[in-house]
Subunit: 394 residues, 2 copies
């Protein structure tokens, strides 16, 4: 029995009805919101219809379980506060369609809070053992609501955690969330690895002063230190990075942040990502050395926040080869292997079992925005690649 | 009759009682606050005791008027939200002591809202005709209170505006608010000119994007544009500026200002000050040209806010010579002529009459802070310079 593209697209549009934003195909379906819980109840009924056994775990991860050992497929159905209709929802609905039609046991999952209302890929982080439940319960969202209180809203549905030993592997389809496939006119990306991430707050503390009466040579201007640091790391990274490496200063807070006052303090975020753990470590060295050097030269006190991070994750060779077989058949000459620059639930699930991922294009590279979209022909191509991959694994 | 240093210091300490912060000698006495109005009532009574005719004008500027043509002296008694005990208060109390003891007619003024709760040197700007009253009434503070509503709190005290034609000139004593005198171990600065100021908001608009999935070469990162702009103007200013020129990027707002998102927008303040209007204009050219150049190179949309500014003001030669005479007598070998990098009420009053200014040291260059202070010996030296200058002008 083959996948049914029409039924797949109808399910996808039906899911969009939960939290539809009224702007294009946008959705507002953050984890544990009314729309999110309603969407999960609907998904559970579709899973039941597909002959799967439904299980909500204690944190709201929703499983549709096939009997016996099975391949797990899926992603997440929660959205950003302003999100698109596809994002993780695509991977969940595609998994459901494959489970309905595959000739072998396929289970389906929609992880909870992948978008990080409370943490980072919270639901799969807990399931995989990366994040202890007791610790997760103390996390709070921007409004001060705790994870513990939020998941209580789904307590009536909750059963036990699912034993990961029943799954032979995990395959996640997702939109690319970047411009590569769309720019190149390709339909399918088979993920080679999920890049590792490092994130650190850095602050320079100089001397707050009057911007009229403090001569330039007596200033200890924290913004100038930040600007110099930025220029130097850009220069020093050049000999180390690949075209896949990225680094970002995305958050800057000056103090007191007034036009007539020499900034006494600059706190900023330094984030870098790469598929190679060694390169991530060498970048960290450059960052720390350069910050110390700039602090010395400009008379700053320097403070590093804790180094947060996730290790790079390589995709499983056998699962990846199956996806490549599917891509060759479904989109000949219009696919590539590529790294994932974004985090996904697969990063956590890789602690438990072999994982692989598949991308379809994001039009204009846009994601986490009401304007996120993908050509329906590409969505169906992705579905068919999953179908072929499952056949190839049989 | 000579000035009375003890009476002068006692008045200064008494004035500090209005809005004393409880931290060191700090005061909290912003314009139109209860403490500010109470301080002005107390000042009015001290003026009356000194034989001066008290007049509050419609915006709360307080005058103690000598009969007939007179020299006007003073400054302002409002403070920053967290201010020091001296700042403008010093000039008001010193003027009062000189008016009490001088052998010729000296009037005293305490301007209102020099610290700019509503505008910039608001009270003297209105009195001098630089800022129309109707326009001032629409200005609001950070809490949304209008100037019109705030000055209504003093309406019961208000008489007419004072005719500036009754004054032969204006002399203002103030703390330096910078480190020069303190660093050099000097007691007195005779101001040569008040530097001009230019202030402009600039914004770069690039493309907000996912910090994991957007390759470096496809980014249009507004923070990177800001950092490049900053490095280039620093470099290009070098051949143009003097040791007195200053420039500051004191306010930066990134959007959305999140560690995992490439900044799509950077709005920042660009402020520069110099005693020469031509140099200010050449700096503006460099700023505009460089911003355009960086925007072109980095794919930004560029927007300039309105150019705000005040022209440089030279001190009157005759009044300045009188202060120099005083400085030579009172602090031989321990005084200098110097520009004022800060704005003062004298900037506005210069539109109406000849003006001159005198500085005493700020310990550590600190001002607009509870920790602001000056050695009492230096305060008295400043008082005596004013006394000698008034004698020299007779």
């Amino acid at each position: 029995m083959a996948v049914n593209a029409e039924r797949f697209l109808k399910d996808l549009h039906d899911l969009r009805g939960f939290g539809a934003s009224g702007v294009g195909k946008g959705v507002v379906r953050p984890a544990y919101s009314e729309a999110d819980v309603a969407a999960r109840r609907w998904l559970a009924s579709r899973m039941e219809d597909a002959g799967l056994q439904v299980r909500f775990d204690p944190v709201g991860n929703l499983f549709g379980l096939a009997e016996g050992p099975s391949l797990l497929m899926g992603s997440h159905s929660d959205s950003q506060p302003e999100g698109g209709w596809l994002d993780g929802a695509l991977g969940v609905i595609a998994a459901l369609e494959v489970a309905r039609s595959a000739g072998r046991p396929v289970s389906v999952v929609s992880f909870q809070d992948e978008e990080g209302r409370f943490g980072v890929t919270t639901g799969s982080a807990i399931w995989s053992g990366h994040l202890p439940l007791a610790e997760a319960d103390t996390l709070t969202d921007h409004a001060g609501v705790s994870f513990g209180a939020a998941r209580a809203a789904m307590a009536g549905l909750a059963g036990d955690f699912v034993d990961p030993a029943r799954f032979t592997g995990f395959v996640e389809m997702h939109i690319e969330q970047g411009p590569t496939l769309d720019t190149e006119g390709e339909q399918i990306g088979v993920v080679s690895d999920i890049v590792g991430i490092r994130d650190m707050k850095i602050s320079f503390r100089g001397q707050q002063n009057h911007a009229g009466t403090t001569p330039m040579h007596l200033r200890r201007d924290a913004f100038q230190a930040l600007s110099l640091f930025n220029a130097r790391i850009n220069d020093r990274f050049r000999n180390l990075v690949t075209s896949r490496t990225v680094w970002t200063i995305g958050h800057v807070a000056l103090h007191p942040n007034a036009s007539s006052i020499v900034p006494g303090r600059a706190q900023f975020s330094m984030q870098w990502r790469d598929g190679d753990a060694g390169r991530l470590a060498r970048m960290e060295e450059i960052i720390r050395d350069t910050a110390h050097e700039v602090a010395r030269e400009t008379g700053m006190e320097l403070e590093f926040g804790p180094l947060l991070g996730l290790e790079p994750v390589a995709m499983d060779a056998r699962l990846k080869a199956a996806l490549e077989t599917g891509a060759r058949d479904v989109a000949p000459g219009k696919w590539r292997t590529m790294p994932s620059g974004a985090l996904h639930d697969a990063t956590n699930v890789a602690r438990l079992m072999p994982v692989a991922m598949l991308f379809v294009p994001s039009i204009g590279g846009i994601s986490h925005d009401f304007a996120e979209d993908t050509d329906e022909a590409d969505l169906v191509a992705g579905l068919r690649v999953l179908e072929r991959a499952v056949e190839a694994l049989a």
